[in-house]
Symmetry: C2
Subunit: 654 residues, 2 copies
């Protein structure tokens, strides 16, 4: 895809963006404020800009006068970059150039770690646990009338050098007829052992040569969402991918309410059936997308948090929610997909990612495996932020992990207008440094419905850095703007007026929301500090950060550092792996080495119960500030804050 | 039990018998003829004997006059030995003392090899594949909140030195509640691996100490009958035992007709369900007999011939009956009893004995394992005679095996009045050497219904040795008795008159019956010869014979040698193991060494298709005589025959 350069005037701020970006996104990326409160839908008409050079696609709008249009004005949210551009932002407020040019780092998201088949092969990791072998067998005679399965095994040994084979009953059942249906030309499906010392199993047999059709499924059983991928085990390609809400949501948003439901009569059975139902919908959809024969699918790898794992496997999760928080099991034996209620053929193996503790589950282990954290020398901090937050610190030699009761603020929980990262969620935010007017962009560029986690972080970080919010998360009472107001005794900032929204109510950011965000980020940051301290390290020892979880891709890293969620470090050292759980399942589908390593890796992972670690509470209390009481941990931010001018206090401070 | 001495007059023949034996059995054992044709029911009144010394229990009868009774006459079949006795046989025919004193070997049955727990322990073989371990676990705390299953595994390691454990999903499901129901006192059920290098599985968990309750089931899936035993894995005792007819019989008496039925739509499913139904009846009965909780049963070991194995496992047996006679598989993986349709708890493992070929099945392998043949240095001939006959020759180093199409004569098939060894079957026979009157005893001492296999052998051997039958199986036409007659062109001997039977027809032994017996024994003997020849040995190299199968316990060994079914050898070298299949299953239940050895043993067993072995037909033709064309193979018999006097030709020969 082509890239174009956009220069924003009057301040000559230059940015390169890919073709197809809207002008308002380009401005947001560049840190150039343009008033906007409809999220990018084109209805507020505030984001009026002048195209001085180059052509944009779209942009004229009923919200602009004919004269404006003729002069070259466009709505930034409706204009698509298809050319190098010079764009002028009309200065409608009294602009103080010094403020406008206030140094703000450009938006920095983490580099996304993409799956790379070549890399997998180079590292010697490409070794699918399922392989197919084609054979042309001699036809039996009275002189050579060994059992059908013996013939198959003998020739797998002779032709394909396959040793130590055992044969599933289902294959024994099929073999006699399948072998005779294409004159003893057959393809055997081999499943490699997960455990050292075990034998390779023959799990399926087809007439003729089907060796090019070899598939597996990876699946993340999330509390909220279930994602599946259908993977081609020969190319490594994802042929189908689908996510759906976990239908268990009707029985409780979080794991605790589901555990409570599971304690009722038939509750566990019910929750199992419901999650299996969602999983089956996902499975059907990815099989449909991929257009493969389900008899050529031979394995499914699953990961979920401890409660989701136990609910899916019908293992009573009762003791997970009660002290001393004991899970039923760490490891699960290899199982059959069909016996777990999945609509897959009988021969399909199901591998369940092991868990670490009641609150560090298989999704985290999968993330550690799939991200390669367990194979790196670098001291790594792995953070998976979802409904809860889990932290792993360590490298190839050892790992320490813990769950943080961060609460659901990052998923919009406990936030007055919080919502998941869905269409209509405010995800990006700038503020006019003079007028304090907002520039908001929503997911889907529609009128706003609420605020998602990354939007919340962006807002709080920006306002804090501008001085609109102090380090305890309180709005500066002196700001000269009607957008900051007191409502029922709580201070709030109005992001969008009722008529600009989809919900016909003013959408605001309240001090309570900010407090919840601080509690959440404080829990995570202090969790990291405590874990590090327990293993005799400090924040500065961290060489890389791996972010996992739904929200990581949208988070502006510098803003996450500004609020003290992430330790301050060079953004290049931060990678985002997306859904770590799904990625781990995919990697296991393509690499039996990874599958076999899991049992050892979990032995190297030490779980810490933060609530039982005496220093945790001190670290936690110290982290309940923006960014932290100990500013020495955030030197870059400290120097920026020293240089800043507080727009609310500009007059008085001069 | 006490033994008493019985002396039969007038010829001073002495025998020791256990207390409780009837006088007529004692006479039969001693080779003393007493006329008898009602099988021992006491209705023909012919077996009138005089008690000269000592007391018997019972014996007076309406069939005796008051004077007879007063003089001390009793019916031998109704008199029970409870004392040392002198008994006089009334000489009612003109007796030639030379004939009466004709040397006849006493009846010799094979020594029965009984299961001996001490022996098993001495040989280091007692090592049940299922063991239970009791544990008193520490209660979890927040400092020690490892997963329940981890706690279990860790303490099994620490307290019981149990390593390399894996845990079944069903145990993970039960563990949390079971562990807490008796304050973390639990008993774990461990299943040892069948395959080298595998791990021990934890397959069940109970609250409290149930380690003394540890049971397994052994089961023989016969074409005709299904036998089960419930075994105490601590004492080795059989706590329940039951046999029932395989309900598949309604779909065909033999394996071929069942294979044909299995080829019909749903035929295989139907036959599986039917045999599983019979097996479940047997299982319920032995559990009831033993009075154990079925949750304390942890394994079932099964053996059957190849067709029965495939039908039970729902593996299409179609290719077993068609050349080149290919079975589906030799080995079957360890399975779950419940998934095979058995009414046993989910945790119960099912181990299926491997087979060798289409006609040498798991029942034979079980016999070879259970009898210890695979561990002896002695060159051994193992013969299992059932619906078919299978032979194994060899020792600990190698084995050769073959199936003989003997036909069902030994089970009463192809015999005019043939029947299975059931109540009313004539099983023992003597003939008055002068009058040629019969002395018959039936199973259950009731009026005769027919002739069973051992009875047939006894009759033919005796008549042949007396000269009443010649070496081609034909009656001497010169015999002066109305009991030998021609009926519809076929010569026959009348064993019992219609009014003496349960079936109101004369029960006879026909020349066709004798011919079928000769065909059957000829097939087995020539099978042995052919196998021996193929491995470079001769009959004389055989050091011991192991007989298995339903009929072996009743067979008079000397008579089996007389007709040429068994090679001539000292009876001490012949052991009878009864149902070898059931015994093998029992031994596997008590010894994981035996279970683990099976896979190696079957590799050492070479199968021969007799029909494809050129020398077989010559051997077969030579064996279609009594005992054989080559009398050098039967030197002892040859010398007896030279000394004999033919009662039919006594007059003419003088």
């Amino acid at each position: 895809m082509s890239e174009y350069t956009v220069v924003f005037q009057p301040h000559m701020i230059k940015i390169k963006v890919p073709e197809g970006t809207t002008l308002i996104r380009a401005a947001m990326e560049a840190g150039v404020h343009v008033n906007a409160s409809c999220g990018g839908e084109g209805v507020c008409g505030k984001c009026r800009v002048l195209i001085e050079k180059g052509q944009v696609e779209g942009g004229p709008s009923g919200r602009l006068s004919e004269q404006d249009q003729a002069e070259g004005f466009r709505l930034a949210c409706q204009s698509i970059v298809k050319d190098d551009l010079v764009v002028r932002i009309p200065v409608e407020s009294t602009v103080d150039a010094r403020v406008l040019n206030m140094k703000r780092p450009p938006r920095q998201t983490a580099q996304i770690r993409q799956f790379n088949m070549e890399e997998l092969k180079e590292q010697g990791l490409f070794f699918p646990p399922i392989e197919k072998r084609y054979l042309e067998l001699p036809v039996p005679t009275i002189e050579d009338n060994v059992a059908d399965v013996t013939r198959l095994v003998n020739y797998l040994k002779a032709i394909h050098d396959e040793h130590r084979l055992v044969v599933d009953l289902s294959v024994i059942r099929k073999a006699p007829d399948v072998m005779r249906s294409d004159d003893f030309r057959v393809t055997a499906t081999l499943a490699r052992p997960v455990r050292q010392g075990r034998k390779t199993r023959i799990i399926n047999i087809h007439a003729g040569d089907t060796s090019a059709k070899n598939y597996a499924i990876a699946m993340d059983i999330g509390t909220t969402t279930i994602y599946g991928q259908l993977i081609d085990l020969i190319s490594g390609d994802v042929l189908g991918e689908y996510g759906d809400f976990n239908a268990q949501i009707s029985y409780g948003e979080d794991v605790i309410t589901r555990i409570v439901f599971a304690e009722k009569a038939d509750g566990l059975k019910k929750l199992h059936e419901i999650v299996a139902g969602t999983m089956n919908r996902v499975i059907h959809e990815i099989i449909k997308q991929a257009g493969v024969d389900q008899d050529d699918i031979s394995a499914v790898t699953l990961a979920g948090n401890t409660t989701m794992t136990q609910l899916f496997l019908r293992v009573n999760p009762r003791y997970i929610r009660r002290g001393p928080y004991v899970p039923a099991s760490i490891l699960y034996p290899p199982l059959r997909a069909a016996e777990l209620g999945l609509d897959l053929p009988d021969h399909v193996d199901a591998l369940i990612y092991p868990i670490i503790s009641s609150y560090v589950g298989g999704d985290i282990v999968a993330g550690v495996m799939g991200s390669g954290m367990y194979r790196t020398e670098k001291m790594t901090l792995f953070i998976d932020i979802g409904t809860n937050a889990e932290i792993v610190i360590g490298n190839e030699d050892w790992m320490a992990c813990a769950a943080c009761s961060a609460g659901p603020a990052f998923e919009g929980g406990g936030v007055k207008f919080g919502m998941r990262a869905a269409r209509g969620a405010i995800e990006d935010f700038l503020m006019d440094p003079v007028t304090l007017e907002p520039m908001i962009l929503t997911i889907g560029n529609v009128r706003p419905k609420g605020i998602c986690g990354s939007g919340l972080i962006n807002m709080v970080a920006l306002m804090f850095e501008m001085g609109v919010i102090n380090n305890r998360g309180k709005f500066d009472r002196d700001c000269n703007t009607s957008r900051i107001r007191e409502n029922d005794g709580v201070y709030e900032y109005v992001l969008a007026m009722a008529h600009e929204t989809q919900i016909d109510r003013d959408i605001t950011l309240t001090e309570n929301d900010i407090e919840n965000l601080i509690l959440a980020k404080g829990a995570i940051f202090s969790g990291c500090q405590t874990l590090l301290e327990e293993v005799g390290l400090a924040i500065s020892d961290i060489e890389q950060v791996i972010l996992a979880g739904g929200f990581g891709s949208y988070v502006d890293l510098s803003k996450a550092m500004t609020i003290g969620l992430l330790p301050e470090m060079y953004p290049e050292k931060i990678v985002y792996v997306g859904n770590g759980s799904l990625m781990g399942c995919k990697m296991s589908s393509l690499s039996n080495h990874i599958r076999m390593d899991v049992a050892d890796v979990i032995k190297r992972m030490t779980n810490f119960e933060l609530s039982e670690t005496p220093s945790y509470m001190n670290h936690y209390m110290a982290a309940l500030f923006l960014p932290h009481t100990d500013m020495k941990l955030f030197p870059m931010l400290a120097s920026r804050l020293e240089a800043r001018e507080n727009p609310c206090r500009r007059d008085s401070s001069r």
